[in-house]
Every structure is written in C-alpha cells, then in structure tokens.
C-alpha cells in the first residue's frame, strides 16, 4: 500500500500536467536546464538548415511591412484628435471582456487621458475609462480599459442620422446613453423612424464643450416593436409603440487592434528580450528558446525572427521557454497577389462572405512595435481551415520575444 502511494501521487501530477494545472507546465521546463550543456554538441550534429530564399523572402517582408502600414492607416480613418498635443495611435487589444462590456488594451504609460475616444476604421467603439477606482487611466503594466458604447461608465454621445435622399433636410439628432442591454437611443429630436439598418454618426457639439469629433460611425439603427407598458401606455422612444435600437457595425470583441489618442511623441517602451532557438528539442509544432522567466518571458508573448512571425510562448520555465509555432490566435492580414488586404482569422467561420484566401497569398500578423510580420504563404484554404507554409526558425539567428 505504501509503495503504491508515490505511484498514485506521480499519476496525479501527470494528470495535472496533461490537463494544464496552473504553473505545472512552466515548472516542467525547469528540468530543461540539464539539456543546456549538451546543446552546442547536439547543434553540431544536426543537418545544416535550408537557407531562406533571399530575394523572394526580402520582397515578402517588404510587402508585409507595407501592408501593415496600409492597414494601420485604414484603422486610423477619421481619427483626428482635436487637441494638437495628441495624435491617433494603433494599440493592441489584450483581452475582450464581453461580460463587462470592456476591452483591455496596451497603451503608452502616461500618454493617454480618461474619456478619450477609442475607434477603429472610423467607427466609435467607446472611451478609455479610469483603471479601477483610481484616477489613473493606465495601470503600471501599460494596460488600460475601454468602456464600450452602452457601458454604464461610458459617457453619453451626441449622434444623428439622416436619409441620403433628404441630405438637404434636417438630420435627426439623438443621444446614445447606457442601457441594460447595451447602448440606448434617447432624446431623439424627431418622432420619425429611420429605415432598417440606417447608419448613425457622431455630431459636432463642440459649442456645448464636447470635443468628440463629428463623423464617427456609431452603429446601425433598428426599429423594433416595444412591449406594451402596464396600463396600455406607450414607451417613450420612437412612436406608435416602436423603439430604436443601436446595433454595432463592428464586433468590438473580435478586434485585435484599436485606435486611441495618445500624447505626441509618447512611444511604447519596447519590452522583450533576445534569445536563440535551442537544438535540444525536436518537434514540428514547437521549439525551445534559451530565454525564460528570469529574462522577463511570459506565456502568451510573441516570438519573431527578422520580421518573420514564429509563434507564441506556450510555457516559460526559469531559463528556457517553449514556443508554439503556427498561426497567431487573433487577427491575420491576408494579402492577395493583387495586393488586396483582408483582415480575418484562421477560422473559416469568421472569413468574410464569399471570400477564401487564394493560394500564394501572403499571411501577416502585426505588432505595434515591430510592424508587419510575415507569417507565411497560403497553401490551401477551405472549410477545414487555412494551411500556411512558413519558413522554419533559423537556429543561427537570434529571435525576439515581445509582449503582445
């Protein structure tokens, strides 16, 4: 009985490792320390890596950089801070929190204000909100929270809609406030109802002291029948028992990057470290790096090599870490041979309607510090998924590990 106990304990720990007990996978990597001394010898015994195709690869890297710049400019459409001390800036979304109607974004420390608008492609998504109960907008790690439109802490937004054929007439003004089920349309200047799917934009109310620029898209107006009120009364919004709902035009929770206003010249402090791929690990899907937690590496960090995307850190031990090679989890840019750029993900369910990546198209990921990163070229794409051919990491050249 007593001899069975250690075996049971070991089996239990094994199950913990398999099913991802917090910290156990990272702890496992601690033993990689014993493999480090033999690494140079093993490296010398391995076949020489295939050289990357020089000119073609350089051309692809250049296209990746250019496509990322084009994409960033598209994201920043309409974003023009009123205050000249601020500029529009693309920042990464670290996490989406649908339950709290919030996004978590990485911003330059000290360069942003609470209440400044957060946009994407000319669409107003929400506003930066204070971090917790403090006055600071940014927590020490450079993270900030975005209260999406309709969030209880999101400020009211003056908006309007106007029929295209009635462009000479008066637009209908209204206020977007917070409601139990997201943004609420209130204080409409007219009882007129818009056609289904009518777009609405922010309007200029700078005379009232509101510096929010006009022209940001805020959503689509949908008319819906409101429930009868007790006693036979009619709800306040709309007319004839009809209510207006504001539907988002972008799924904010699916975005990988958004645009904020930050102080001019305020840069992200480029974090991360340099490392090398170790030879003492062999897998088609993963590689081990010679940098770990003591170098600041954390799970989820991105790994790149000379403009090429390699993967994300899966587990980080004290001295080494494991990189999962492959496509990024979030948004990808697919650049077709005729330079059309489509933002999508690797999941076919989220591809635009009637669109499939064409074989030979470039697949890119973007990073605000490093720019466009080449993931690879499309080999095939169908309902089963996206198959991408990527260059393997070169053990002779350093890799950079950076936070997302």
């Amino acid at each position: 009985m007593s001899s069975a106990r250690p075996a049971l304990l070991l089996a239990l720990l094994c199950c913990g490792s398999l099913f991802g007990w917090p910290g156990l996978r990272d702890a496992e990597q601690g033993a990689a320390l014993f493999l480090l001394p033999a690494d140079p010898l093993v490296k010398a015994c391995l076949p020489a890596p295939m050289p990357a195709q020089g000119a073609a690869r350089e051309r692809d890297l250049t296209r990746a950089t250019e496509a990322w710049d084009v994409w960033c400019r598209a994201l920043m459409a309409q974003a023009r801070p009123v205050d000249a001390r601020y500029e529009a800036r693309v920042v990464p979304v670290l996490a989406a929190r649908p339950e709290q109607q919030e996004l978590l974004v990485r911003v330059p420390v000290g360069g942003v204000r609470a209440g400044s608008p957060v946009t994407s492609q000319g669409v107003l998504l929400g506003f930066l909100r204070p971090w917790g109960s403090h006055a600071e907008v940014v927590e020490s790690g450079g993270r900030a929270r975005v209260a999406l439109l309709g969030h209880p802490l999101a400020r009211p937004v003056a908006a309007s809609w106007q029929l295209a054929e009635r462009a000479v007439g008066e637009p209908v003004h209204f206020l977007i406030t917070s409601g139990p089920a997201g943004p609420r349309v209130a204080h409409s200047s007219s009882d007129s109802l818009p056609p289904a799917g009518q777009l609405a934009w922010t309007r200029d109310v700078s005379r009232l002291g509101d510096a929010l620029p006009a022209g940001f898209l805020v959503g689509r107006l949908e008319v819906e029948a409101a429930a009868d009120l007790p006693g036979g009364g009619l709800p306040g919004a709309g007319a004839g028992g009809l209510a207006l709902r504001l539907q988002p035009v972008l799924d904010a929770y699916a975005l990988s990057h958004v645009v904020i206003e930050s102080a001019v010249g305020q840069e992200f402090a480029l974090q991360g470290c340099l490392g090398h791929v170790l030879a003492s690990g062999t897998s088609a899907q993963r590689v081990r790096l010679d940098v770990g937690r003591i170098d600041g590496v954390q799970g989820g960090d991105l790994v790149v090599q000379d403009g090429q995307w390699l993967g994300t850190i899966e587990s980080a031990g004290p001295l080494t870490s494991v990189v999962r090679l492959g496509l990024p989890d979030g948004q990808l840019l697919v650049v077709s041979p005729d330079d059309e750029i489509v933002a999508t993900t690797a999941e076919p369910a989220r591809w635009p309607a009637d669109w499939t990546p064409s074989p030979g198209a470039l697949v890119l990921a973007g990073h605000v510090d490093l720019g466009g990163l080449l993931v690879g070229t499309v080999v095939s794409a169908d309902a089963g998924g996206l198959s991408v051919l990527a260059d393997p990491p070169d053990p002779a050249r350093p890799v950079r590990v950076v936070p997302p």
């Binding site: 070991l10 094994c14 199950c15 398999l18 156990l24 990597q29 493999l35 010898l41 690990g281 062999t282």
Partner: protein, 152 residues
C-alpha cells in the same frame, strides 16, 4: 549503476534529437532500451525514479506535456516489471522481448492518453524502431544487468 543509467538516459534523449533530425519519421528512440533495462534490472522500490527521468526527458525533447510521457513510461514499465522473472530467465532474448513489450504498451498508453487529454503524446513507430535497438544492445544490457542486484 543508478547515476550511470540516468546519465545514459540524458545521452539517449539527445541522441533522439539527432536521430529525428536525420531520419525524421524513421528515427529509432534510444530511450526505449534504457526504459526496458530499468524495467528489468532497476530495484522495484525505486522504479519511479527512472520512470520519471525517462518520461520527463522524452517530453522535454519532444516538447510535449511531461505528464503524458511519464504516464506512458509508468504504465509500460510496470507491465514489463511484472513479467520480470520470466523475461530474465530468457537471457538476451528476454531483454529484446522486454523492449518490444515496452514499446507496445508505451504506444498503446500514448494513444489512450492522447485521446483522453487531447494533447499530442508521441508514441508508435519511433518506439518500435527503438525496441529494435535492443537487439545489438542485448549482450551489453544483460552483462550490465548481471552486475547489479536484482530483486524480482
């Protein structure tokens, strides 16, 4: 013998890296003869140590969760160890048979653990090819095994 076997496991794990780099899918796993030797000759009370070392090293080299490989080595080693009296009576052939049984059990365990956990746990061909390494190593293994105390 014990430190020597653990060092041998470390060497075998790096030999697996090199053999995979050159032979790809047809690379024999040198850790398997080490595990078979431990199953036959390592004192039963301390069998968990070589199980842990071999499984963990294989997981580190293949960049897989250590728990999966350790479970597979544990299961296959316990089965071979339970057959120890019969296998030892067959001499060199017993060692080769032990390696083959170990490879089969290890592969079955890997498939089962992989299916249950959804993680990639490598087994199969490499282990069977690794068991074939036991043929040239049988004489050496039996000689080394005779020099240590065995408690069947």
């Amino acid at each position: 013998m014990r430190p020597a076997l653990l060092l041998l496991a470390l060497f075998a794990s790096q030999a697996l890296v090199v053999s995979r780099a050159w032979l790809a899918a047809y690379a024999p796993d040198p850790l398997l003869p080490v595990a078979a030797f431990a199953a036959l000759y390592w004192p039963r009370r301390g069998l968990l140590l070589p199980v842990l070392v071999v499984g963990w090293l294989r997981a580190l080299v293949l960049l897989e969760p250590a728990g999966g490989q350790v479970l597979c080595v544990l299961g296959s080693t316990l089965i071979v160890a339970s057959l120890r009296p019969a296998l030892l009576s067959w001499g060199r052939a017993g060692y080769v048979l032990a390696a083959l049984v170990q490879a089969g059990c290890w592969s079955l365990c890997a498939a089962a653990v992989s299916a249950l956990s959804g993680q990639t746990i490598t087994g199969g061909r490499e282990l069977v090819l690794g068991a074939l390494l036991a043929v040239p190593l049988a004489g050496l293994a039996c000689a080394a095994g005779r020099s240590v105390t065995v408690r069947p």
